[in-house]
Amino acid sequence: MDYILSIIPQMLMGTVDTLKLFFVTIVLSIPLGIFLAMGRVSAFKWLRSAISGYVWLLRGTPLMLQLLFVYYGLPFIPVIGIRMDDFPAAVLAFVLNYAAYFCEIFRAGIQSIPVGQYEAARTLGMNYSQTMRRIVLPQVFKIILPPVSNETITLVKDTSLIYVLAMNDLLRTTRNLVQRDFNIMPFLVAAVFYLVMTLFLTYMFNRLEKRFSRYD
């Protein structure tokens, strides 16, 4: 017990890094996903194809590979070669990757709204942006809540991939403690930490779903 208490401060420090990456990724990738989805259903064929290509590329390769590429590969690309610190590199890779998943979720959501909703909005004089903001997207949010909740929970666990960039997130901190102390207890504590985070998210999404179900 004393041992567990003694490692908790360090593990909390690691959790802070994990949560930072998690929040920045969510805050940036969801809006980006919405914009991509709107482009994906737009009238412009070139835009639709470009976004499908993007989604195919980002969903079709491992996130770990994308992470390594952004951090180690980008500096060697001629002309745009940029060298990033580990945190911004991780954010870039995670946002690009998760935006592709969110794009597909939102696209499916937008396409499930009946065309009659757009027509009703149009006969009432609403323009495209009013129709999207006030009529379509609020209904989409309700539909996509379960898959978004799923992605979000996956993201909590995926953050552990930054292990490969030698960042001291929760997983790497844990691993260091295990090696230092020859004790596997930190693994169990880490599992509890992850479980608490996902439990909290599950609870929040359940509350949201309940709120949105008021018009059923």
């Binding site: 027509e119 004089g125 009013q130 009529i135 018009y215």
Partner: protein, 253 residues
């Protein structure tokens, strides 16, 4: 004064010719019923009037303002963006599937466009909406979500929502076709009341009773053209056109 003047309307969906030179005139306060077999193009005609569909040729003048015209060279010219929206929204529309906004209460459905499109103050739009709900007999449902209402109630809310924009003309696209028979009465009654207040109305319908009793003019369409038009008595009692005679026989069976 003519509220709607449509001349020589042609409309294709790819290779399919749906409207083949339709003329339609609707005077102020007039109720026009458009009847005909399904696939005759009557809903498409209605949807062309408020630009839910764009036409391939012809002229549409709403309340003296040109929504679309066609040059001698066959070039279709719509009024520029905002203008055509302004002209098209002089007409309120009621759909077969109601198309209420499911995430908004009845009252929110009614004030959405007055507040966000016409920029009227919420309090004023709310008063207005409540008066309209009173009129369609649904004031006590103001804070209910549409899914909790019967089809007939939803359609009455949809009528009130269209009226909340103070349209000059109301278009009804088969307003009772997706309702259970026992619910059509309440919707038809609401429409009848509206007709008695001298609202200009174009009603695409399968309700021959309504066409007979409320319409001043009945238009029979088949195969994308107006086969015959006239007063209800002329159309229902003394039909000349063979298609119309066959149509009336088939629905009376």
């Amino acid at each position: 004064m003519k509220k709607i003047e449509a001349k020589q309307i042609y409309k294709n969906f790819q290779d399919l010719q749906v409207l083949k030179g339709i003329d339609l005139e609707v005077g102020e306060g007039e109720v026009v019923a458009v009847i005909g077999p399904s696939g005759s193009g009557k809903s498409t005609l209605l949807r062309c009037l408020n630009k839910l569909e764009t036409i391939n040729s012809g002229t549409i003048i709403i309340d003296g303002e040109t929504l679309v015209s066609t040059t001698a060279a066959g070039q279709v010219q719509y009024a520029p963006g905002n203008e055509s929206i302004r002209i098209a929204t002089k007409m309120g529309m009621v759909f077969q599937q109601f198309n209420l906004f499911p995430h908004m209460t009845v009252l929110e459905n009614l004030i959405e466009a007055p507040v966000h499109v016409q920029k009227r103050p919420v309090a004023e739009a709310t008063r207005d909406a409540e008066a309209l709900l009173q009129k369609v007999g649904l004031l006590e449902k103001r804070d209910v979500y549409p899914r909790r209402l019967s089809g007939g109630q939803q359609q009455r809310v949809a009528i009130a929502r269209a009226l909340a924009m103070h349209p000059d003309i109301m278009l009804f696209d088969e307003p009772t076709s997706s309702l259970d028979p026992e619910l059509t009465g309440e919707v038809l009654k609401t429409m009848r009341n509206l007709a008695e207040e001298n609202m200009t109305m174009v009603v695409v319908t399968h309700e021959m009773g309504f066409a007979k009793e409320v319409a001043r003019k009945v238009i029979f369409m088949a195969d994308g053209i107006v086969q015959e038009q006239g007063t209800p008595v002329e159309i229902f009692e003394h039909p000349h056109n063979e298609r119309l005679q066959a149509f009336l026989k088939s629905i009376l069976k």
